[in-house]
């Protein structure tokens, strides 16, 4: 493993996907928050993870 961005990117891509799927499937609301945060934040983490992976691929 030469580039730490790969496991970090992979981890957040996976976790982001899991959260997004959870958000779509159950919508899971918290007591004080009505927004579907699992879905929104899952997508955000997914994007972050993909950016990390992309950076690792295109390193100079």
């Amino acid at each position: 493993m030469n580039d730490l961005r790969i496991p970090i990117g992979g981890f957040f891509t996976l976790v982001g996907a899991i959260l997004a799927v959870t958000g779509v499937a159950s919508g899971g609301r918290a007591r004080l928050e009505s927004a579907n945060i699992n879905l929104y934040y899952g997508v955000a983490l997914l994007v972050f993870g993909c950016v990390m992976l992309w950076l690792a691929r295109h390193r100079s």
């Binding site: 493993m1 496991p7 970090i8 976790v15 958000g23 159950s26 918290a30 934040y41």
Partner: protein
């Protein structure tokens, strides 16, 4: 510590936690191949890229006490807690990068105690190595204790199960990949903390009506940093500006960030002098932002508890608020199953990498400074690699033992400050004189350190704050809070060490200049990388840093 609402985890939360465990073990396993010598294992062979050393430098300190303790302090003392970052950590990180790293890195020492041996003598190193080793194991144990207690309280996991599970995982990945493995996992932990807790801060503040809504729901002292620091009686920390700047800002923070091997070790793993110097500077940028992620939720919690939302900071069994539960109770309120798994994983990661950081620093100091320095001097490198590996096991086992020994304190943060002030406060005087005054001698440094620690103990013994201290019989002064007491202990310890080191140095024979190359200012060539672009040089980066820091202090005045 009763009446905790508790948190119920779903399958998805356990899945995220399990993925994290698998990943840290994978990182350890993947790095195993890179470990061939004791230097690879204990010092990463000085080959880690800048962005990784920087984030690890920051994350090594971002352990459980930091995250939970800072959120607790936010709820207890308000946004004044940000002083730990904006007065404390950041200026000290700047100083170690610009002024001290040339000597640490340039001396080729493998550890902070080894620098003391090169600069002063063997006894000064031994003193520092032994106190550091004991303190490191102690903080690692406290960290585990806190983890076990919290997870028992909030998740109803058994104390023993969470302590042993985290210990075994840390043991496996540090045993396999050594310091590099610990550093890589610290970087992962950094992202987890930021990404896992930032949404909590945002949601809690929004729910409380934004910053102005929060400020309207509590005393003004809770949302300002300096406005109420004029006198000790005006603010809940019970400290005035001088004690704050001298005690926390100068002595404690410089003592920690500039001399504690746990953090300095991360910078020393950098691949070049320029990288080593810029490591603390680059780390200082995210460090400045951390108050918004770890302290603000605590402040917001106070506002939320004053609103008709059914939220309250839990009480302790003996009465009084259990501030250490602020973070987890907020998570339970704002995170649905899924996000909860992410937040919990971030917490677990900070506990584990805090422990790993301690274990890897303990490792190096034991193997190079105590074992190689005093027990077996001239063995082949392979022998020290084996010793390093065995020490990893011993270090983790000792931490577990300490975890079972520690008894409860009302605020982890206050307690840590006390430990730091006894051991670290005099240290900074020693390093300051050692690096910038070539006349300072080994005898001076050694007696100065002893005098400083004695002064710290005496100050604690002769003063009282919140029923703590005063064990020497006479009580000369009563402080309004233990935090103020800790800051003043540090100031006394530092001054005693500084004065005694100078006096004894002047009375003893100095080291010849020829023995001090690359160790002292004036006899060390500081690299002038004028050809590098501005952001690749330490000083311009430091100037930008100071600008942003002043802006933040002014903004939240």
């Amino acid at each position: 510590m009763l009446d905790s609402p508790g948190v119920t985890l779903g399958a998805v939360d356990y899945l995220i936690l399990a993925i994290y465990f698998a990943l840290v073990l994978f990182i350890g396993w993947a790095l195993k191949r890179k470990v061939a010598t004791s230097a690879d294992f204990l010092t990463s062979g000085r080959s880690v890229p800048l962005w990784i050393t920087s984030l690890a430098f920051l994350a090594a300190n971002l352990g459980a006490q930091e995250v939970i303790g800072m959120c607790a302090s936010g709820a207890k003392y308000g946004f004044m807690t940000a002083h730990f970052y904006w007065v404390g950590a950041v200026p000290a990180m700047l100083f170690v990068g610009v002024f001290m790293m040339p000597f640490y890195y340039g001396s080729r020492a493998r550890s902070v105690p080894e620098y003391l041996k090169l600069r002063f003598d063997e006894k000064t190193r031994a003193l520092n190595a032994v106190t550091f080793a004991v303190m490191t194991v102690f903080s690692s144990g406290i960290s585990m204790y806190a983890l076990g207690l919290l997870f028992e309280l909030v998740l109803h996991w058994s104390f023993t199960a969470s302590v042993l599970l985290s210990a075994v995982i840390v043991l496996v990945y540090t045993f396999l990949g050594g310091l590099t493995s610990a550093i890589y996992n610290e970087v992962l932990q950094f992202f987890l903390i930021v990404l896992g807790f930032a949404p909590l801060a945002v949601m809690a503040v929004m729910k409380a009506g934004g910053w102005s809504g929060m400020a309207a729901r509590m005393p003004a002292v809770m949302t300002h940093t300096w406005s109420y620091a004029g006198s000790a009686s005006e603010n809940p920390m019970g400290i005035e500006a001088f004690g704050l700047i001298a005690g926390l800002g100068f002595v404690l923070s410089f003592g920690y960030w500039c001399t504690d091997f746990l953090v300095v070790q991360r910078a020393m793993a950098a691949e070049s002098m320029s990288g080593a110097r810029r490591t603390p500077l680059i780390a200082a940028f995210p460090k400045m932002i951390m108050p918004f992620i770890v302290i603000v939720p605590g402040v917001a919690a106070v506002a939320l508890s004053h609103m008709p939302l059914g939220y309250a900071i839990p009480h302790k069994a003996g009465g009084g608020l259990d501030y250490d539960q602020t973070l987890t109770t907020l998570m339970a309120q704002f995170y649905p199953s899924g996000m909860l798994g992410l937040g919990l994983t971030a917490l677990m990661a900070s506990f584990m990498s805090g422990m790993a950081g301690n274990v890897t620093a303990f490792n190096t100091v034991w193997t190079y400074d105590l074992y190689q320095g005093h027990i077996r001097k001239n063995e082949p490198d392979d022998h020290y690699l084996q010793v390093g590996r065995i020490t990893t096991v011993v270090g983790v086992a000792l931490s577990v033992a300490v975890a079972y020994l520690v008894t409860a304190f009302n605020n982890l943060n206050d307690f840590l400050q006390l430990v730091f002030s006894f051991v670290n406060a005099p240290l900074f005087a020693t390093f300051l004189l050692g690096m910038f005054w070539k006349r300072a001698t080994g005898h001076g440094a050694f007696t100065g350190l002893l005098a400083g620690t004695a002064a710290a103990a005496a100050t604690h013994g002769l003063t009282v704050a919140e029923h703590k201290g005063g064990w020497l019989g006479a009580v000369l002064h009563t402080f309004p809070s233990t935090m103020a007491q800790n800051f003043w202990i540090a100031i006394c310890a530092w001054s005693a060490c500084f004065v005694v080191t100078i006096l004894v140095s002047l009375a003893s024979r100095p080291k010849p200049d020829s023995d001090l190359h690359n160790l002292v200012y004036g006899l060390t060539e500081i690299p002038h990388d004028k050809l590098a672009r501005w952001f690749e040089r330490p000083v311009p980066v430091a100037v930008v840093l100071i600008g942003v820091l002043l802006l933040l202090n002014w903004w939240f005045w």
